[in-house]
Amino acid sequence: MLTALVLVPLLGAVAVAVAPAAVSRVLAIGVSVGAFALGVAVLLMFDTGEGMQLTETVDWISAFGVHYALGVDGLSLLLVLLTVLLVPVVLLAGWHDGDEDPKAFYAWTLALEALSLAVFLATDVFLFYVVFEATLIPAYFLVAGFGREGRSSAAVKFLLFQLAGGLVLLASVIGLYVVSAQQGPPSYLLSDLMQLDIGTAAGRWLFAGFFIAFAIKAPLFPVHTWLADTTERATPATSVLLVCVLDKIGTYGMLRFCLGIFPEASQWATPLVVTIAVVSIIYGAFVAIGQDDVLRLIGLTSLSHFGFITLGIFVFSSQGGSGAILYMVNHGLGTAALFLVAGYLIRRRGTTLISQMGGLEKATPVLAGLLLVAGLATLGLPGLSPFVSEFLVLLSAFDYAWWVGAFAVTGIVLAAIYVLWAYQRMMTGPTPATVEGTPDATTREWMAVAPLMLALVFFGFYPQPLLDTANPYVEGLMSHVGVTDDAPAVPPGTAGHEEDGE
C-alpha cells in the first residue's frame, strides 16, 4: 500500500517525461489526484491507536543492516496527507508556472512528491538518508529551471547548503552503523535503533550531526539564508513544495530521529536549541517586516514559523509536541495559500515588489479576501487553524520557562505587523488607473486555493481530528524520552474555599 503511494507519483513522473508535452499538465494533475486518493485510502486504513502500521520491511543490504522499510504512524500520516493535498493544489494554482518546459516541470514536481512521501514513510534510517538526499535532485531542477532572473545562483546556493547538511548527516548515519554493529548484528531499522544503548558522548556527537542537517533543512537561524533567496527566485508553486513540504523534513527529522534515537542528547541540547528557536522566531519576523519583495517576505515568515515548530518539539511536553506537529500541517496550509495567492497577484501586476502594487482591493475583492484570510492564518488569528498550534507551542514554552514564553509571544505582535503592513501596501489605498479593470480571481484560481481555505477554517474551530492523530504519537515519544508534563501549581479540585467544608 505505502509502496504504491510512493510509486504512483514516481511512475507518473516517468510517464510525464515520455508523454508529449501537450498532455503533461493534465497527466500530472491526474496522477497527483490519484496519489491524493491513495493518501485518503491510507487514512481510512489507519487506526489511530496503533502506532507504526501498514509496515513493509524487506532486507536490502543485509551486510549493513539496511532495509527497505516503510510504515506510517500519526506523525507521518499527517505529513503524507499534507503532501498529497498540496501537490494537486499547487499544480492547479500554478497553471502557467511550467509553461517554459512543461515536461520537465511536471515530471520533477511529481518526482519530488514521490521522494518526499518516501522520506515521511521510511522507517529505516539509511533508506531515509538516501531519499532525503535524492529529493535535492528534483528540487534543484525546479529552482534552477523555472522562476525569475537569478534563479541559477539561488539554486546553487540552495544545493550547497543542502549538500553540506547532507554530508554531516551522512557522517552521523555511518556513525550509527558503527554503534549498532558493536552491539550485535547491525540494523538501520528505526525500531532497532531506538532500543540501542548509544552512550552519552557518542550520542551527543551523532545527535549534532542529525540536528545540524535538520536545522539547515527546516531552516533555523543562522543557516537560513538560502531560504529567502530561493523563494524569491523560484516560482510560487515551487516555493510551496520547498517550504511547505520539503522543509518539513527538517522538523519531522528532529522529532523522528533526534528525539527518537537520541533522547538523552536531545534533552542535553535543549537550552541551545530553544535559544536558536526563539532567535529564529523574532529575527525571522523582524527581517520579514523589512522586505519589499513579497515572495522573500513569505519565505522569511517561515523562518519565524520553523522557530515555533522547533520550540514546540524541544520543550518536551505533550502540548508542545502535538502543537509542533499541528504547526507543521497548519503552516503548510497557510503558507501555501499565501504563496499561491501572492503568485496570482504577481502574474497580474508583473512585479513582486510590494511597494509597486497597491490599490488592488477595489479591482479584485475576491483575491484581496483570499490574501487576507491567508495572511490572518499566518498571523495566528483564533478561528483559523494556525492559532491552535501556535497557542499550544507558546503554552508549552511558557510552561518550560516563563521567559522563553515571554520572548516567543512577541512573535504574535510582529506577525501582525508584517502581515497587515504588507496587506496595507499591496491592497489598500487609491486605485491607480493602471490597476483599474484588473481581472479578479478566475474559477480555476479560487478553486485551487479553496481546499486550503476550508481546511484553515475547519481545523481552526475543530482541530480535534488532527490532535487525535498526533496525540498518541506524542504520548509514545514522551514516554520513550522519559518525560512527563508538569503538574499545575494548584491542581483542579484543591479549592482554597472548601477547606473548612460544610
Binding site: 536490502w60 543490504i61 551486510a63 538516501v130 535535492l136 535532485i137 539554486a155 546553487v156 546556493k157 549538500l163 547532507g166 537561524f221 539564508t225 523582524f286 527581517v287 517586516i289 523589512g290 511536553s317 502540548q319 502535538s322 502543537g323 482591493e361 477595489k362 479576501g369 490572518l376 488569528l381 483564533p382 478561528g383 491552535v388 497557542f391 499550544l392 503554552l395 511558557f398 510552561d399 509571544v409 512577541t410 505582535v413 505587523i417 497587515l420 489598500t428 489605498g429 487609491p430 474551530f461 475543530y462 482541530p463 480535534q464 490532535l467 496525540n471 508534563d485 503538574a487 499545575p488 501549581a489 494548584v490 491542581p491 483542579p492 479540585g493 484543591t494 479549592a495 474555599h497 472548601e498
Partner: protein
C-alpha cells in the same frame, strides 16, 4: 449554585447545565455568524437584500437574548448560572478546552446590550450606508462583529473569550478600514490591530499562566482554585489581564489607536468604538473578579490606569474640533470611569457594569446623532463648520440632547445615577481617587457642553453649498429609541436591582459609607458639573466661535495632538522597532549570510582550484558532489549484491 463561605467575599462559579429555552444559547451566536457567512460567500447575488438579512439576524439574536434574560429572571438566584457544552475544542495531554458557553447574570446583561444596541445600529446603517456600493459587505462585517462579541462574553473559558476577543479585533480592523481606498483609513485599521495585539500578548500570557497554575482555562475551575494560588501569581495574572484590557479598551498607555479608529463609518464608531467592543476590557476585569480579589496590587494598578485614562481622554475631548474625535476622547474617559469602578473590587463591579450599560446607550445615541449631523453636512466632521443646527435637524437635536444630559450627569438621567455611584464608591475607597473622579465629572460637563453648543447652538458657520437637513426615518428611529434609553437607563438601579442581580457573580459587600454623606457627594458632583457647563457656555455661546481654529496656548495644542501619545509611541516603540528591523536586515545581508557565504566563498575558492582541475562551474561541482554521494550509495548496494 453559589458557594460562599463565612468571611469570604469571592463567589465561586458553579453553573448547572443549560436546559429548556436556555439550550438555544448557541443560536444567539450562530445567527449573526451565519448571516456574516452568507453575505460574504454569497457575493453580489446577495447585494439586494443583504442589509435586510444582516439586520434580521441581529434582531433575531436580540429576541433570543430577551428570552434568555426573562428565563433567568424567573429563576431562583442560585439557579441563574448555566453552561452549554457544544463540543471538545482542544484536547492535548492535561489540557482540555471545550467550546463551552456560560450564561449567568453578568453575561446576559451583555447579551441584551450587544444585540439590542447592535440591532438599532443595524437599522440605522440601512439608511446611513444606503449609497455605498459595498453596503452588503458592511453588514457582513457588522454581523461578524456581533457574533464575535457574543462569543467573547459567553465563553466559559479564557481561550473561547480570546477567540471572541481577537474576532472583534478583526471585525474592528475590517470596519475601520472599510473605506480602504483612503490611505488614512487603511493605516488606522492596521494601527488599531497592532496596538490591540500588544494587549493581546498580555492576554495570551495570562492564559498560559492560568493554565500552568490551575491546569485549566475554565473560569469555573479557576474561580474554584483562586484562593489556593499565591498572591504573587494572582498579581502577575491580574497585571497581564490589565494589559489586555488596556489594549482593547483604549486605556493608557495603549490608547493611541482609538482616535484614529474614527476613520471608520460612524455606525461602526457607535457600535464598536463606543458601546460594546471597547468596553470588553471592563468585562474582562469583572469576569476575572476572582483573580483581582486575591491581587490587591493589581487592583491598585487598575485604578491608576483608570484615573490617568479618565483625564487623558477628557483633555483630548476638550480640544478636538472633529466631532467624532471629541466623542472618542470622551469614550476613553468614560471607560476610565468603568475601569476605576472595576478596580475598586466588590464595591465597584456592579457600578462598572451599570455605567457600561448606560454609557452604551447614551454614547451610541450621540455617535449616531453625530452621524446624522454629518449626513446632513456632506460628511463634514469639523464642528467649526457647524453651529445653530437645532432648527435644521430637530429630531437629531432633541435625541442628542438626551444623550448630552445623560453623559454630563444631569439629575434624573441615566448617566447621573451611574456616574454618581462610581464617585461615591471611589470616595469610600480613597479621598484622592474620589476627588479625581469628581473633578473629571466637571471636565466632562465642559467638553460635552462645548461639543453640544458648537454643533446645535452658537453662530452659523456652514460652508458654502451645504444644506443641512434631517435624516430619514430609518435613521431617526434608532436615535429616538436610544434617546429614550439614555433617559431611562437609571431604572436598573431602582432598589439596587443591578447590584443584587450581579452579586452571585461578583460578590456583595456590606455597604461602605463614603466619608461624607451620600447626598453631599451627589450635590458636590452636580455642582462641579454645573461649573464645567457654565465655563463652556461662557466660552462657546456668549462668544462668537471662529470657523478657523485659533492657534491656542501650548496646553490646547498638546490636547489637540492627543497629548502627544503618538509621538511618545514613535520615540519609545516605533523608532527602536524600525532600528531593530534595519539591524536585522543588516545582519541578514552581511552577518548571517555573510558568515555562511564566506564559508561558501572558501568552498568556492576550493571550487576554483577544483575548477581548473575539473569541469569549470560551481554548479557542476555541486551536482557532481551530489552524484558522488549517490555513487557511494550505489557502491554500497553493489557490495552487497
Amino acid at each position: 449554585m453559589t458557594v460562599m463561605e463565612a468571611g469570604e467575599l469571592v463567589p465561586v462559579l458553579a453553573p448547572g447545565s443549560a436546559d429548556g429555552v436556555l439550550s438555544l444559547l448557541w443560536l444567539v451566536i450562530a445567527l449573526p455568524l451565519a448571516g456574516a457567512a452568507v453575505l460574504l460567500l454569497g457575493g453580489r447575488a446577495t447585494d439586494r437584500w443583504g442589509h435586510l438579512l444582516g439586520t434580521a439576524t441581529a434582531v433575531g439574536s436580540f429576541v433570543l437574548s430577551l428570552l434568555m434574560f426573562l428565563t433567568l429572571l424567573g429563576r431562583e438566584e442560585d439557579d441563574r448560572q448555566v453552561v452549554q457544552h457544544l463540543y471538545d475544542w482542544i484536547q492535548v495531554g492535561g489540557l482540555d478546552i471545550g467550546m463551552d458557553l456560560l450564561l449567568d447574570p453578568l453575561s446576559v446583561l451583555f447579551l441584551l446590550l450587544i444585540t439590542g444596541v447592535g440591532s438599532l445600529i443595524h437599522v440605522y446603517s440601512i439608511g446611513y450606508m444606503e449609497h455605498d456600493p459595498r453596503r452588503r459587505r458592511f453588514f457582513a462585517y457588522l454581523n461578524l462583529f456581533v457574533a464575535a462579541m457574543l462569543m467573547l462574553v459567553l465563553s466559559e473559558n479564557c481561550l473561547g473569550l480570546f477567540l471572541g476577543w481577537e474576532g472583534v479585533g478583526l471585525a474592528s480592523y475590517l470596519l475601520i478600514g472599510f473605506w480602504q481606498h483612503k490611505p488614512s483609513a487603511a493605516a488606522a485599521a492596521k494601527k488599531a490591530f497592532v496596538i490591540n495585539r500588544v494587549g493581546d500578548m498580555g492576554m495570551a500570557t495570562a492564559i498560559f499562566l492560568a493554565f500552568v497554575t490551575f491546569g485549566s482555562t475554565s473560569f469555573t475551575v479557576i474561580s474554584a482554585g483562586a484562593g489556593a494560588a499565591t498572591e504573587t501569581t494572582m498579581t502577575v495574572l491580574g497585571l497581564l489581564l490589565l494589559v489586555g484590557a488596556a489594549g482593547k479598551s483604549a486605556q493608557f498607555p495603549l490608547q493611541a489607536w482609538l482616535l484614529d479608529a474614527m476613520e471608520g463609518p460612524t455606525p461602526v464608531s457607535a457600535l464598536i468604538h463606543a458601546a460594546t467592543m471597547v468596553t470588553a476590557g471592563v468585562y474582562l476585569i469583572t469576569r476575572s473578579n476572582f483573580v483581582f480579589e486575591y491581587a490587591p496590587s493589581a487592583q491598585t494598578a487598575v485604578v491608576v490606569v483608570a484615573v490617568i485614562s479618565i483625564f487623558w481622554g477628557a483633555v483630548i475631548g476638550c480640544a478636538k474640533d472633529d466631532i467624532k474625535k471629541a466623542l472618542a476622547g470622551s469614550t476613553m474617559s468614560q471607560i476610565g470611569y468603568m475601569m476605576l469602578a472595576a478596580g475598586l473590587g466588590v464595591a465597584g463591579y456592579a457600578f462598572a457594569i451599570f455605567h457600561l450599560i448606560t454609557h452604551g446607550f447614551f454614547k451610541a445615541n450621540m455617535f449616531l446623532g453625530a452621524g446624522s449631523v454629518m449626513h446632513g453636512m456632506d460628511d463634514d466632521v469639523d464642528m467649526r463648520h457647524y453651529g445653530a443646527l437645532r432648527a435644521a435637524m430637530p429630531i437629531t437635536f432633541a435625541t442628542f440632547a438626551m444623550g448630552f444630559l445623560a453623559i454630563i450627569g444631569f439629575p434624573g438621567f441615566s448617566g447621573f445615577w451611574s456616574k454618581d455611584k462610581i464617585v461615591e464608591a471611589a470616595l469610600a475607597d480613597s479621598w484622592l481617587v474620589g476627588l479625581a473622579a469628581m473633578a473629571a465629572a466637571g471636565v466632562t460637563g465642559f467638553y460635552m457642553t462645548r461639543l453640544f453648543l458648537m454643533t446645535f447652538f452658537s453662530n452659523k458657520r456652514w460652508q458654502e453649498g451645504v444644506h443641512p437637513h434631517e435624516s430619514p426615518k430609518v435613521m431617526t428611529f434608532p436615535l429616538i429609541a436610544l434617546a429614550a434609553l439614555s433617559v431611562l437607563g437609571g431604572v436598573l438601579l431602582i432598589g439596587d436591582w443591578i447590584v443584587e442581580w450581579l452579586s452571585p457573580v461578583v460578590g456583595e459587600e456590606a455597604h461602605h459609607e463614603p466619608p461624607i454623606p451620600v447626598l453631599a457627594v451627589t450635590a458636590l458632583t452636580t455642582l462641579t458639573v454645573a461649573v464645567g457647563v457654565a465655563i463652556a457656555f461662557a466660552m462657546y455661546q456668549r462668544r462668537e466661535v471662529p470657523a478657523e481654529a485659533p492657534t491656542g496656548s501650548f496646553a490646547t495644542r498638546a490636547a489637540r495632538n492627543e497629548l502627544y501619545g503618538n509621538e511618545i509611541n514613535e520615540v519609545l516603540v516605533v523608532g527602536p522597532g524600525r532600528g531593530l528591523v534595519r539591524t536585522s536586515l543588516g545582519i541578514d545581508r552581511h552577518g548571517a549570510d555573510g558568515a555562511v557565504m564566506g564559508g561558501a566563498a572558501v568552498v568556492r575558492g576550493l571550487g576554483g582550484w577544483l575548477r581548473r582541475a575539473q569541469t569549470g562551474y560551481v554548479r557542476s561541482y555541486a551536482l557532481s558532489l551530489l552524484g558522488g554521494v549517490i555513487i557511494v550509495v550505489l557502491a554500497m548496494l553493489a557490495v552487497n549484491l
